[in-house]
Symmetry: C2
Subunit: 149 residues, 2 copies
Amino acid sequence: MALEQDIRQEKFDNEFHKTAINILYTSSWLYNLNALRLKPFGITPEQFNVLRILRGSHPKPLMLADITCRMIDKNSNATRLVEKLRQKDFVQRTVCEGNRRQVDIKITPRGLKLLESIDKESSGWTASLKNISKAEAQELNRILDKLRD
Amino acid sequence: MALEQDIRQEKFDNEFHKTAINILYTSSWLYNLNALRLKPFGITPEQFNVLRILRGSHPKPLMLADITCRMIDKNSNATRLVEKLRQKDFVQRTVCEGNRRQVDIKITPRGLKLLESIDKESSGWTASLKNISKAEAQELNRILDKLRD
DNA sequence: ATTCAATAGTTGTATAGACAATAATAGTGT
DNA sequence: ACACTATTATTGTCTATACAACTATTGAAT
């Protein structure tokens, strides 16, 4: 019912069509929640994602291609996202000595501190999803993975 | 398994965190498939969505606010999407006589013909989702709706 | 050594999302 | 009639996605 009301559409071509719309709509809903909670910290969901990726490999740096392949949206432009983060001093860029084509990117102490305070002061998405049970979350994950197979 | 490999991330904070990422990632995957199939027709998924909304109410026109509230992404800018469609002669804009603040938007015969040929010549998203059963699609829809409650 | 292909990243341009400011029109109350 | 408010749409600016063209560097083959 929710979806039909949210986009004022009573009928779909079939159950699969509805599923497609439902995923896109729910994704947009989730994204907006996330953007809202991150806004006080002066960071976008995409930038946050890059920072988390860099924290994941810290203290080892990553090159741009590494970041890209870990990103949720592969078509995004890591160069420009990283540049935004560098301007705010959340990451550091160094041309790699061993291979001067590649750029080593590391999260800075300031970047780590930012993530820490976001973890502490914000309940995160998890809170937004607690409306479903853990079993339902697992089922959702299973079906979504199967979908893309 | 799929998700962990696709974004090279072995661990998530918890099942709900994984669910959030999974929805965003699957949405991006779906969006790209849809963009790809629409590209030969010279139209984007967002423009396609607006056209379908207009066909839904045809021959009755809609005003911009009507389109916005039916759109998957409410933050999008209907004015500019409609203008793109008008330039291609897929929709028609007329200032409403009864209330000169609002603009009546109608799909043109050319717009209807475009949708028809897309329906005919393209298998649509439905095909991309047929990897799951109808029961699974229903379950997915149920959980997603509950999620956003 | 020179050429050629592969790798890594940057840049340009079009489209769209986020959000605030503004303009135009209509309706309401006095 | 006048001021005030609400409605409807447009515009500006920043961020991000989509995709192709381009630069620089490295590695491989002859």
